[in-house]
């Protein structure tokens, strides 16, 4: 068994010829066929076998070469059906690879297929894919979280050591907490989004799962960098992010939000978080609490919902259902065809979000809803930046309760004033690098901790995360 190992362990075995790429691909296929979490959309096993057989030699410096991976179904993949888990895109076979897919293929990684997600990435539970509910391998009655549910599942169950996701609110970092994984969201603009089906452009970030921090740092070294196909792609120089882990380059000032800390009701989570803070202090880190304004914490959820729903309206207007999609009979005009296709192609939840987005963009409402949410975002980020004037890292639990049971879910716009469930959106509003990694187990369910840093200080985020990994001794977790 190799696929339950880390990227660096598999790489070492490949270099020493203890295993070959085609053996890894066959093992991955065999494991995929036993999937119990409903992780898969389309698979491209024949293409993977062909690529694996063509690899003759792997050099020491070719860390990713010959290693299989999966991608969330919202990345365009040449010749492989891409639906974003929505019927509106049934049958869409992209004619190009997303830039991040190209980079991974150029590094020699082997794409095995596409994973389930909440439809069009609009959901946090992993329950709204057109392929059905994706479950948590630690307890199949519970959610694994979303929207990158299938990608979390394939890494958590040891099918691959790495899978691509995307993170608009917490769509990689929350499932990482529920599934005992490392989930990393780079700085917005650090990784090209060309070929990623947009949900909310000002928040979407190419993100991913691994089973340890070092693997995550290597991946960023390969996929980051300027791309002239993405106007939001940064020209800042990319780095060797693994050096921050291997050479222990780190900052020292850690902060956490007093209001969030005081709101933790689960004793075991509080105790695990307290223990981590004590250990970090013992290692010479300076830890302090920060008084982030409570009203801005409560503003996170409505700000996120209004901005993301409104941006989603615009981004998904191109889904006409004409070239591919659910298929429509007896339409007499393109308007009727498109309306019938979109009615049939979107689920009820997506339609609800679109209506709220459309309402917030009506000329009579735009100032009071969409523009005001954008102003609230400015205040939220200004205050976050003030925090980062005094601290190098924001440290918080990544979840505040066990993942909910699927039978107890409620998808309505939350009327309960709450900020704990939405705290990770801070990283999307500010574009900050942010990582979740395992903190503890409660009732045999994993629960993560999250580290957020200043924009473009992705390497330093890896560095602290690596220190935490040494303290918790929770890495390379696999639930078979």
């Amino acid at each position: 068994m190799w696929m339950n190992k880390s990227i660096t362990e598999i790489h070492s075995a490949l270099v020493k010829k203890k295993v070959t790429p085609i053996e890894l691909v066959e093992e991955c296929i065999s494991l995929s066929e036993k999937d119990k979490c409903n992780c898969f959309e389309a698979c491209c096993f024949d293409q993977a076998r062909k690529q694996a057989k063509e690899i003759k030699e792997i050099k020491e410096e070719e860390i990713l070469k010959g290693i299989p991976f999966f991608a969330k179904d919202n990345f365009s993949t040449l010749g492989v059906e891409t639906t974003a888990s929505s019927n509106i895109l049934n049958g869409y076979i992209p004619i190009f690879d997303a830039s991040v897919i190209t980079k991974l293929k150029n590094a020699g990684m082997i794409l095995m297929g596409k994973t389930t997600m909440d439809e069009l990435a609009m959901g946090g539970n992993g329950t709204t894919s057109h392929k059905g509910v994706s479950t948590n391998p630690y307890d199949h009655k519970r959610i694994i979280g979303g929207s990158s549910c299938g990608s979390a599942g394939v890494v958590s169950t040891g099918i691959v050591p790495f899978a691509l996701g995307s993170d608009t609110g917490d769509s990689v970092r929350k499932p990482a907490s529920h599934a005992g994984l490392v989930g990393f969201k780079p700085t917005w603009g650090r990784v090209s989004r060309y070929g990623l089906l947009s949900f909310a452009t000002s928040l979407d970030t190419v993100s991913y799962f691994t089973r340890n921090v070092l693997d995550a740092s290597y991946i960023l070294s390969y996929i980051s960098g300027y791309d002239n196909k993405d106007m939001s792609s940064s020209t800042r120089k990319k780095e060797k992010y693994q050096d921050y882990v291997l050479k222990k380059k780190t900052f020292k000032k850690i902060g956490y939000f007093k209001e969030v800390y005081n709101s933790i009701t689960n004793k075991q989570i509080k105790e695990a978080f307290d223990n981590l803070l004590s250990s970090l202090k013992g290692k010479g880190y300076i830890v302090s609490e920060y008084d982030y304004p409570k009203e801005l914490l409560y503003a996170l959820y409505p700000t996120y919902m209004i901005i993301s729903c409104a941006e989603a309206n615009s981004n998904n207007a191109c889904l006409d259902g004409i070239k591919y999609g659910p298929g429509v009979e007896n339409a007499t005009s393109w308007v009727e065809y498109m309306t019938k296709a979109r009615t049939k192609g979107f689920s009820e939840l997506i339609k609800r979000r679109f209506v709220i987005g459309s309402f917030s963009l009506l000329s009579q409402n735009q100032e009071e809803m969409f523009t005001r949410a954008q102003k609230a975002r400015r205040l939220i980020v200004n205050e976050l930046n003030k925090f980062f004037d005094e601290h190098d890292y924001l440290l918080l639990p990544a979840a505040y309760s066990l993942p909910p049971k699927i039978s107890e879910l409620d998808t309505k716009w939350s009327s309960k004033p709450d900020f704990l469930d939405n705290i990770l959106t801070l990283g999307n509003f500010g574009g900050n690098p942010s990582i979740t990694l395992p903190l503890t187990f409660i009732n045999n369910m994993p629960l993560g901790v999250n580290v957020t840093g200043r924009i473009f200080e992705d390497g330093y985020v890896f560095s602290l995360a690596s220190e935490i990994e040494k303290i918790t001794k929770l890495s390379n977790l696999v639930k078979e």
Binding site: I322, T332, F359, K375, L379, K412, W413
Partner: protein, 105 residues
Amino acid sequence: MIKITKNIIRQCAKNMMFDLTSEEVDTIFNEFDTVYAQVGFLSSIKGVDEVEPMTFPYKEHQHKLADDIPLKPLKRALALKNSNTAFGNQIKLPKVIGVNSDVDE
């Protein structure tokens, strides 16, 4: 901000080019108490109207013209693969321009 009605919900859906069942309209309508409450909360935040709206996390966009790089044309086989109604070298598209169309034939 205008008061929500079921007709406005249907109009918003129409703007987005889909229809809603009456049950779907009811579900959305019932959600709006919460939407109004939270929008009201945002407006009550101290200083919210004294700042500029934030459209992106930071300003660092590139506006230079991309270099002209010749691209290989799309391969016919790949284009045909994208349709489940391909005949020979052609793709049959659904008829979307008809007698009631607002586009001149």
